[in-house]
């Protein structure tokens, strides 16, 4: 009886976990892939993240399941990067630096409609991870500042300034790669 009871309980837990965590599978993979920048590594990280999430599932108290899962995915990515490619994390950006705003000094407009998706992808991959992650979460996953601040464990003000600086850098990277293309 007790054997059957705990079997059922365990099956229940797995089913509950799947119902809550699997709908965010695409988002989890996308975030992991953008953070570790490699197909195979992203697959390993996602699997590890789901196993971790399953172990921590007892601590999940309902609420925003996507933020809960993506927090674990992001942490797993950082742990993985620290262990395997710590150089990518070794130069933290300075959040106090004031480069917030929009560049109006450069009148050249980029017509992004005409930009090759490949170029945008390349430019995004070149961004430092701190900017890359907030951009991915905001633009691709459509997460709010509040959610990004929870997932990234950052103050909202930092989320806002990293987004602004990230966009500015992305724009500059794109402009320069487009100029290069035009020359070729």
């Amino acid at each position: 009886m007790t054997q059957r009871g705990s079997c059922l309980q365990e099956e229940n837990k797995t089913a509950q976990f799947e119902a809550i965590a699997l709908p965010h599978f695409d988002a989890a993979y996308n975030l992991a892939r953008w953070l570790v920048r490699d197909d195979h590594d992203a697959e390993d990280v996602v699997q590890e993240a789901y196993l971790r999430a399953f172990r921590f599932f007892g601590g999940y108290r309902g609420g925003d399941s996507r933020s809960w899962l993506l927090t674990i995915v992001r942490n797993t990515c950082y742990t993985w990067l620290q262990q395997n490619r710590s150089r990518e994390l070794s130069e933290p950006i300075d959040d106090k630096l004031d480069e917030v705003g929009i560049s109006t000094e450069n009148p050249e407009t980029i017509l992004l409609q005409t930009v090759d998706a490949q170029l945008v992808r390349q430019a995004l991959e070149e961004l430092p991870i701190e900017f890359r992650e907030v951009l991915i979460m905001r633009e691709m996953e459509d997460l709010s500042y509040k959610q990004i601040s929870t997932i990234g464990d950052l103050p909202i003000g930092t989320v806002m300034s990293r987004l602004a600086r990230g966009r500015k850098r992305l724009r500059e990277l794109l402009a320069s790669s487009m100029r290069k293309e035009a020359l070729d």
């Binding site: 705990s6 697959e43 945008v120």
Partner: protein, 284 residues
């Protein structure tokens, strides 16, 4: 609205994070100011380029199943052990008892590894707090600002002391997460060195004698008293960190302070002279 203001607000405006009044102000400004309007359009096209679904990475079809079965395996570990037939129960139980006895003996003989794990977690948190420029959530050298800040954020109230007079100035406090629970992190500075003190309610008995660890070049001291568990970590040398810990402990009741090196190879018990004289007076 002036351009400077609009430049600060244009991102939250684009992201739909502004309140109605501010949004209307920005809209009005964008109608009037061509430079800002152009910048806004650029941001919008940047947004649509990045948010395009072509930009997303799709997981390979097999991965979902792989992850699923990994999770089920993990969940099934307990099941399978429960399905053992009766024939195996008695040997299994005796084996389990043997293993438990052996393990407890081992645990008695060697340093408990939970402390090592905890120490590792403490080091990671310390390093992270310095790395991400995210040292404090509440930057303040006033203990009466830092202590109340934790109210409502934690289910306990950590003791906060300012030791500036002794050269250890309070920098602020931070919420952190250690051992699957939210904890208070108090940040002190001594010359150029930062000290993180992690505090959470302890479950075990009070043990004011400190244990010192060395991990990745950082010195750690762990102790507990008055129902709280403490970990202090810094790149300070051990002697100065000890001095700091003594100051923190100073007017608490349990003051016997001993440092034991966690390295199994050398385990020297030495007590700190001035504290010991104090402690003998207090000790029951």
């Amino acid at each position: 609205m002036i351009c400077q203001e609009s430049r600060n607000l244009i991102h939250p405006y684009l992201d739909g994070e502004l309140d109605l009044v501010r949004s209307l102000e920005i809209e009005a400004h964008l109608k009037d100011c061509q430079t800002c309007a152009q910048a806004y359009n650029e941001l919008r096209s940047l947004h649509s380029a990045v948010s395009d679904t072509a930009m997303r990475f799709k997981p390979p079809a097999a991965l979902r199943n792989r992850v699923r079965s990994a999770v089920r395996n993990e969940g099934g570990v307990m099941n399978r052990s429960l399905r053992l037939s009766w024939r195996w129960i008695i040997p299994a139980v005796s084996l389990a008892v043997l293993v438990i006895v052996a393990l407890s003996l081992l645990a008695l003989l060697s340093r408990p590894s939970t402390n090592d794990l905890k120490a590792q977690e403490i080091v990671s948190s310390h390093v992270r707090s310095l790395m991400e420029k995210h040292l404090t959530d509440v930057p303040s050298s006033d203990q009466h600002t830092v202590k109340p800040w934790f109210d409502g954020r934690l289910d306990f109230s950590p003791p906060v002391k300012d030791l500036a007079s002794a050269g250890f100035s309070l920098v602020g406090g931070r919420l952190d997460y250690i051992g699957n629970r939210p904890v208070a992190a108090l940040v002190y500075q001594h010359r150029q060195h930062y000290i993180n003190v992690f505090v959470w309610p302890s479950t075990g008995a009070s043990d004011a004698s400190g244990r010192a660890f060395v991990r990745q070049g950082y010195n750690l001291i762990n102790w507990s008293n008055s129902g709280m568990n403490y970990w202090a970590i810094s790149d300070l040398n051990l002697a100065e960190l000890q001095q700091f810990v003594q100051l923190l402990q100073k007017d608490s009741a349990a003051v016997r302070f001993q440092i034991r090196m966690s390295n199994n190879a050398r385990e020297d018990h030495f007590s700190v002279s001035n504290l010991c004289t104090e402690s003998t007076a207090h000790e029951t």
